[in-house]
Symmetry: C2
Subunit: 246 residues, 2 copies
């Protein structure tokens, strides 16, 4: 199956860097806190980070006590930044597709992946490899775009009322599991839509026990600080999952 | 918390009976096959059916080999029909709210519930009682309205194109977990919306291991037979879950 490397596209890369620099983006406000809230105590643990990008999380895992971190990314450009900005003797950055991690020989206590799986066609194959790379009782924590986002297949994403307020998220083809080309800085970034049930069943069919899900949304306190995230009450942007190998 | 007994309302009861008599309704086409596909071999097993209604499923479990079935329903009117039409010496019908099953003294191999939990306010409390009533390795299989349905909070459910085709399901307040009054034959049938993550976390927090989810939708073969179910490609009507007590 295809392995997608959109992050080495120059226009995409620059656009992506820019939104990551904006403090109050949805990643910083919703996704990262949710993902980190599901991490176990990393003291002395070995961690594999799939789709590690600029390596900020890898560095964070070391700062949280991890003994060893391996960061994998398909984009050489992303890893160039990671090696410059987030290097550490305990971190190894590997330029490979996550579809190829079956070739790794070591095992890990924790596997983490932040917002990468919706770009992966063979989710089942990757989950199977992750299961084999984990030690017993090892934990697998990941985030991805929410299934209500990945199912988008054209038209307007929202219905507005006469005052310009978003009143409905427009959901279509939620049950059609396919590749949805989308435009994000560049044309035809491929996203693979999977229903909620498919995501969970892929985990359990590969032997994982699902422990916890988070669909991050803005609570009253957060809305006061960031009123721009009101939409997240209608539709969450992310799904965050914790599973364990028994 | 409130225990809702809508099925003893005369108008609701008659309206409900009518749709259940229609062969090609969504229950018969999607929900019942999905629910039954998750059942284990019932031979010699004891089964508890929560919200058993007319008792058709109770009778079905006996026909599938179950040694003993207890059917619980809050509606005396529903159980009157059950005792007339689906009686068996191995079936006991109990007129009680499922919020009161903590008072049962026997244990069960299988707990089933078909399309009842979205009427229940204290889902967490009921799931905890089910866990305690199950034998070790006992299975818990249930269906409920899909979270994309229960989140409905007013306005039109669909956006149509100029040809009258449904192009978007209108989703609002998916992240607002509240009681949504809806009109189904009578006004203000209370439905309790819970996000996907809340449903799964309630199971795992109470000790269950989630094994399998189904979001039933029409495939090509079914669409040919029942073109009226084309909408189900945009949004499934039901969520069906199998969990195990370890």
């Amino acid at each position: 199956m295809a392995k997608q490397n959109i992050y080495d596209n120059e226009i995409f890369f620059e656009g992506y860097k820019k939104i990551r620099e904006n403090e109050a983006n949805a990643n910083n406000v919703f996704e990262i806190p949710a993902l980190f809230s599901l991490l176990p105590d990393l003291n002395g643990k070995s961690v594999l980070d799939l789709g590690c990008g600029f390596g900020e999380h890898c560095k964070g895992f070391i700062q949280s006590g991890a003994a060893k971190v391996v960061g994998v990314d398909i984009s050489a450009k992303m890893l160039e930044v990671a090696r410059e900005e987030n290097s550490d003797p305990r971190i190894t950055y590997l330029n490979m597709a996550m579809e190829d991690i079956g070739s790794l020989e070591e095992h890990f206590d924790v596997v983490v992946s932040s917002l990468a799986f919706h770009y992966v066609e063979d989710f089942d194959g990757v989950v199977g490899m992750i299961y084999r790379l984990l030690n017993k009782d090892g934990e697998f924590i990941f985030s991805q775009e929410h299934p209500l986002n990945t199912c988008f297949s054209g038209g307007s994403r929202w219905t507005f009322d006469e005052n310009g307020e978003k009143i409905f998220a427009n959901v279509s083809n939620y049950c059609v599991e396919t590749e949805n080309g989308s435009t994000w800085f560049v044309d035809n970034v491929k996203r693979y839509h999977r229903m909620f049930s498919t995501i969970i069943n892929t985990l359990t069919d590969n032997g994982f026990e699902v422990k916890k899900l988070i669909e991050p949304t803005a609570d009253a306190e957060l809305l006061e600080k960031y009123p721009q995230f009101k939409d997240s009450r209608h539709k969450p942007d992310f799904l965050v999952v914790k599973a364990v190998k028994r």
